[in-house]
């Protein structure tokens, strides 16, 4: 298997795994975590009412722990999918990387393995903490994540070195041919669909920042002031819980709008990247088209219904998760195609053994 196939296969696998993890996180962890954080904020407000600063600090300690739990899982999801994007992007550059076949394969394997172990390390940070660590503030999970990140940086620097050599017209071995610019329906659908998705995400982001960003920031401060004012008044219990509930709803509103914005843009970028690798997907035209349709339909469903969760609640959340599943299924279909690919393009250039 040549470097480009390693990167394409590893990239798609990383993105599919990252998205599957994101789906699991959204269904089983996200809402529960938000609920617990709200409970802790209410506990802190009650501690304010009871004039108990020690309990306030204790509650904020728990909130920090819950935020770390949530944050490391979001980071796992983001880093795994982004490492996949990076692999696909580097796969495109392989014809212009002037390194020997073995070095290119080594760099590709390092990039993919780094992309696997970096998110695993991030995921473990919350659970391992500082257990058995010889360092005062860095745990073994962070060491794993940082080492994997360093391996990825090394691999990227290797690619840059290869690009530099290519720019100076140095040849170090067989070079992959540029990917054929086929004008198939799948390629055009992915290119056009991807660009439109990015455009929609961009317009939504502009609308969000113009209409909601400042309002959300002002509302957060207003709600926090209300929580603290009510907690300090004589009759605190019920109105405080209402304000804490408002705070939770605001956080959910912000998170859903940002998730819709980022996901539609990421799917758009992914669609463009996937359009390049269609020659490597060894499936019939009919099955390739099915995979592309599943991918694009899921790419629209997920962000739209993430946004509608604000109005429709869990039903919309379920449809959004189903959209994510469609994207994953479409990608796994393409992954199967890459696995079935016979190596024709690589063999022509003598880069596969």
């Amino acid at each position: 298997m040549g470097a480009r196939r390693i990167l394409i296969f590893g990239g798609i696998a990383l993105i599919a795994a990252g998205m599957f993890f994101g789906d699991i996180f959204a269904v089983f962890i996200l809402h529960q975590n938000g609920g617990k954080t709200g409970e802790m904020l209410l506990t802190a407000a009650q501690a304010v009412a009871n004039r108990n600063p020690a309990s306030v600090k204790d509650a904020f300690g728990h909130i920090g722990n819950l935020l770390e739990d949530r944050g490391t899982k979001i980071d796992t999801h983001v880093h795994m999918t982004d490492a996949g994007y990076l692999c696909l992007l580097v796969a495109l550059l392989q014809p212009y990387v002037a390194l020997s076949r073995e070095r290119k394969r080594l760099m590709a394997a390092m990039l993919v393995l780094g992309g696997v172990f970096l998110p695993i390390g991030i995921f473990l940070i919350h659970y391992l903490g500082l257990a058995f660590s010889p360092f005062p503030v860095i745990g073994w999970a962070s060491v794993l994540a940082d080492s994997a990140g360093a391996v990825m940086i090394f691999a990227i620097l290797g690619q840059a070195w290869g690009l530099w050599k290519h720019a100076r017209s140095v040849r170090s071995g067989p070079v992959e041919p540029e990917l054929p610019l086929e004008n198939s329906w799948c390629r055009r659908a992915l290119l056009t669909g991807g660009t439109v998705l990015i455009l929609l995400g961009f317009l939504f982001g502009a609308w969000y920042s113009a209409m909601h960003l400042y309002e959300h920031e002002a509302r957060e401060i207003r709600i926090l002031n209300t929580i603290l004012d009510v907690a300090q008044s004589a009759d605190a219990s019920s109105p405080t819980s209402l304000a804490v509930n408002d705070y939770g709803m605001l956080q959910a509103e912000k998170a859903l709008m940002i998730a819709a914005h980022s996901h539609v843009i990421e799917f758009g970028l992914l669609a463009i990247l996937l359009s390049f690798i269609q020659p490597y997907v060894f499936l019939s035209d009919e099955w390739k088209a099915r995979c592309v349709k599943l991918f694009l339909v899921g790419s629209i469903l997920l962000p739209v219904f993430v946004l509608l969760e604000l109005r429709m609640g869990l039903v919309a959340g379920g449809i959004a998760d189903a959209g994510g599943l469609l994207v994953i299924v479409g990608m796994i279909g393409m992954l199967v195609g890459v696995l079935r690919y016979s190596g024709k393009l690589d063999a022509e250039a003598g880069v596969s053994q």
């Binding site: 802190a44 407000a45 501690a47 304010v48 009871n50 004039r51 108990n52 600063p53 309990s55 306030v56 600090k57 509650a59 904020f60 920090g64 994007y85 992007l89 495109l92 610019l181 004008n183 055009r188 290119l191 056009t192 660009t195 439109v196 990015i198 455009l199 961009f202 317009l203 502009a206 960003l213 920031e217 957060e220 401060i221 926090l224 002031n225 603290l228 907690a231 300090q232 843009i265 970028l269 463009i272 990247l273 359009s275 390049f276």
Partner: protein, 160 residues
């Protein structure tokens, strides 16, 4: 590869380098301090409220507001620069497949790159000059340029 494609790829690599250098600098020298400060000021607001110190509470909440305002924009700048750079590189590889004349493609590439540079820069400058119109105008101009360029690219791919 056409001049527009090369411009997008090299401009994208430059933008990615800028975004990553900014991100690395931010992660090493500013992010943890900012997060500690932000979390600390919110906890302080509650502790001061428990101590029935309204002045301390107000001051800590105001501090929290300022920190959060800056944090949101700092993170946005990093993610948007790198994200737009990846988009520029990816589009650069396939830009010749869009159904426009080379001159049109070149100006679309220029619009995309200039927009991708000044939109996050405007957002970052909001931290330097909070409340000033100039940084927001710069960010909005960047958004408009990127939007127009993307709409043009999508149209070009669709009609090819």
């Amino acid at each position: 590869m056409s001049a527009a494609g090369k411009l997008l790829i090299f401009g994208g690599v430059g933008l990615a380098a800028l975004g990553m250098i900014y991100g690395l600098h931010y992660a090493v020298f500013a992010e943890h301090q900012r997060l500690d400060h932000m979390g600390g000021s919110l906890a302080t607001a509650f502790v001061e409220a428990a101590n029935r110190n309204p002045e301390g509470t107000r001051s800590a909440i105001e501090d929290y507001r300022r920190q959060k305002f800056a944090y949101v924009r700092e993170v946005d700048v990093h993610s948007h620069w790198v994200g737009l750079a990846m988009l520029a590189i990816a589009l650069g590889v396939v830009f010749d497949a869009s159904g426009f004349a080379p001159r049109t493609r070149f100006w679309l590439a220029v619009a995309l790159l200039v927009g991708a540079l000044i939109f996050p820069l405007g957002v970052l400058l909001q931290n330097v000059q909070p409340g000033s119109l100039a940084p927001s105008a710069m960010a909005v101009s960047g958004v408009l340029l990127v939007t127009i360029a993307l709409a043009g690219v999508a149209f070009g791919f669709a009609r090819k």
